[in-house]
């Protein structure tokens, strides 16, 4: 082999990297650079002065304020002693984690890195679950923006997935008006989130809204969802679900329609019922699509801001304030470093939850793909 051939081969091997490098640099520039600057801002105190901005490094003071200081109530909420129910739930969780570890240690894929990863996931989930139980199930506990956001994300995604899957299963059948229903279910996704927020604000207005006569007929004119924390949160979640169910619906419908029919037909000929077919054929085949769409929706759900901002301005009190809204309110009063600190913590929590989800369902997806 001549020297020029070996140089050519080396160049050929490097060619893909070279061609993709400009795109990678642009992505890095627009995502990594802002991340680094945000980190710097979150570790500083900024002051607007003549000619620009003065930044004073203060270390982790902004994070300390959120986690242990004057803003702890705002971020982590108010604490109280766990109830008996809380202890039971925590115990069940610990048992499930131990079973999970036991099965992992007995598997052939066992490794030190895998163990550390699982330990981190388990610890993080343990603390988040405990915080949620303390905030939501204890007499004096109150949720901060972290638990409010987790509520929107977990309950919202579960609800949206179930309804989206149900609608997709209905629309995949050859029923009359199928095309019409598909179009109608898709419409909410076309509307801007702020538009949906104002729409729901008008719909839920108890004194002037379109349902005001109904509210009066039911004798509920003296009650208002906006002054009850869970009432306000549910109103926000309904608006969010209305907007995002179509997304779940359209992707799951596409997934269902692309499933091979031979296995189903064979199962029907063998006398399998519809539940058996769904459990043993449809669900495993659809699982990769389900995991992908839930992951996408989880990432998006953490950013919820329009609905709580327009419908309730984060109220009553801070009952509906999400992490994004918390960060926005800080930014709006020019507390840029406080805003960046909240944003960073949101990123950490979102990445943790999404990675935990992937690691928890990875094995099931692999089995389904086999």
């Amino acid at each position: 082999m001549t020297q020029s051939n070996s140089i050519e081969e080396r160049l050929d091997r490097q060619a893909p990297a070279v061609f993709i490098m400009p795109a990678v640099l642009i992505v890095l520039c627009f995502s990594i650079f802002p991340l680094i600057v945000s980190l710097f801002v979150s570790l500083s105190r900024l002051k607007f002065v003549r000619g620009g901005i003065e930044a004073k490094y203060i270390g982790f003071l902004n994070f300390k304020k959120l986690l242990f200081g004057s803003q702890q109530y705002h971020f982590l909420g108010k604490f109280d002693q766990l109830t008996t129910t809380g202890y039971v739930i925590m115990s069940v969780f610990v048992i499930l984690i131990l079973v999970w570890f036991y099965r992992y240690f007995r598997s052939i894929n066992f490794s030190l890195v895998g163990t550390i990863g699982r330990f981190v996931v388990a610890t993080g989930l343990f603390f988040l679950l405990m915080l949620t139980l303390i905030n939501l199930t204890t007499p004096k506990g109150l949720p901060g923006t972290l638990v409010v956001t987790l509520t929107y994300v977990i309950l919202g995604v579960i609800f949206q997935f179930q309804i989206g899957l149900g609608l997709a299963l209905l629309c995949v059948k050859k029923i009359r008006g199928r095309s019409f229903f598909r179009m109608v279910f898709f419409i909410p996704m076309m509307i801007t989130p702020v538009g949906i927020a104002y729409l729901f604000r008008m719909l839920t207005d108890m004194t002037k809204g379109p349902f005001a006569p109904v509210v009066m007929w039911l004798g509920m004119e003296e009650t208002s969802w906006a002054v009850i924390p869970w009432g306000a949160r549910i109103a926000v979640m309904i608006g969010d679900a209305w907007q995002w169910i179509p997304f779940m619906f359209i992707v799951l419908l596409a997934g269902l329609e692309s499933l091979p029919t031979e296995q189903k037909e064979a199962a029907i000929m063998d006398g399998a019922g519809s539940w058996q077919i769904f459990r043993d054929i449809t669900w495993p085949t659809l699982l990769p699509v389900i995991v992908t769409i839930i992951l996408i929706r989880l990432i998006e759900a953490f950013k919820i801001i329009d609905l709580p901002n327009v419908m309730t301005n984060g109220g009553p009190g801070i009952a509906t304030e999400s992490l994004s809204l918390h960060s926005y309110f800080n930014w709006r009063t020019m507390d840029l470093s406080g805003s960046a600190a909240v944003g960073y913590l949101l990123m950490v929590v979102a990445v943790f939850i999404c990675l935990s989800f992937v690691s928890l369902v990875k094995k099931q997806v692999e089995i389904a793909q086999q």
Binding site: V49, E222, P229, A319, M334
Partner: protein, 492 residues
Amino acid sequence: MFKLKNKMISGIVLAVGTLLFTIPAVHAKKYDGVTVNILTMEAPQIKGPMVKRAPDFKKLTGATVNIIGVPFADIYPKMEADFATGTNSIDGAVFAPQWMVDFIEPGYLEDLTSKVKADSAIEWDDIGYFFRSFSSTYGGKIYTIPLDGDFHMIYYRTDLLDAAGISPPTTWEEYIYIASRFHGQDMNGDGTPDYGSCISKKRNAQAYWMILSVAGGFIQAKGTGEGMFFDTKTMKPLVNNEAFSRALDIYKETTKYAPPDEINLDVGDTRGLWTAGRCALTLDWGDIGTLAIEKGSKVKGKTGAAILPGSRKVLDRSSGKLVPCNRARCPYAINGVNHAPFAAYGGWSGAINTASNARVKDAAYDFFSYMSQPKQSNVDVTIGITGMNPYRVSQFEKLSNWTNAGFSKASAENYLGAIKASLNSPNMILDLRVPKNQRYQQVVLDTEVHRFLSGEISKQEAMQRIEDGWEEVTEETGRDGQLNAYRKTLGY
């Protein structure tokens, strides 16, 4: 013949050319080709009248004025981001003068003193003393042009109170009594029960001034210079004491006689309820008076205005306790009641970006002057939807402006009388005007009061958190600097 024809053609061409070049020059306007971008709140109020008058200003001066609206809570950050980053896309802003300190210190706002002195059309001395000498100035220099005068007042249904033989409330206890008396009655003849009191209490809107209006009469008694926000010697917040505690009790009690979602209503909602005839009492800026006479209002001729209710007990600042009023403690009390009218917000005012081009700055100033001149502003303040309330002496004296707008003579006298009584009060409360005042009020005070109203925290917790939050802002910003700025605003 040919030569003559050529000469004639040349002559005609020359004449036409001369006309084409000189006519535009003769008719050239002062600001032809100049565009001014002005930022303000996105709402029919304040932005509406400026958008309406911008074409007239263009006809007069040639300047194109673009009015850019943003949500109220975004005005402050948009201004600061635009000026600090050097973007300078905003040439002028109509905003809260209490925020001006944050923009003057870094040198973002133009000193308008010389322009005002050279401008006879603005009739500066006709502007109320408070607005021209306090709201518009800082450190002895003029930085803003007032377009609006702001005071909180209470409004009451004259027909209901007259029929019941009740006088307008002079104390907050009387306010509560009247609200409870009428709550649940049908006040507008539509067969549905209405509300005793409608006060905007929505978080992150403009509600945090309302609690200050309630608390003012309990905290400040010895005149404007005493101040109601901080101790003038130590900068200690005056929010964790019996006076503020009583104010919170009253504020929360008004919710009992209000629409069920009152803590989610902003001023647009409560004004709509008032003009629909659904409230016996309300607390608001001067807008209610002019909105009440608009077409479609069910309360035209039924709206009375009064100075803010006060208190027979005031704060003893050394002990933190409420003590009965006497001559020494309440030198300005009226019939034993200490009133402290609150100049909430200070009145929308126009300021100019110092970094803009000189011609643009001149055009911006002339536009603000035009808007403020009596010929325009004396009309705008009589129209409810403009959001502009009286601030010129002539606006209080010329009743014909108001009767022409639709007020009856009695209503006009009542409305203007309430504003004048507030303006002339020696115990008037000046709005907080120190650096970062937005954080004190919109972040800390607003959040904790709303949490208290929604039942998330107790009254004691709310007061403690407000005090701790304000102390934190003071420490972060610099206690000595804040104290100095606070004392300066009170005239020390």
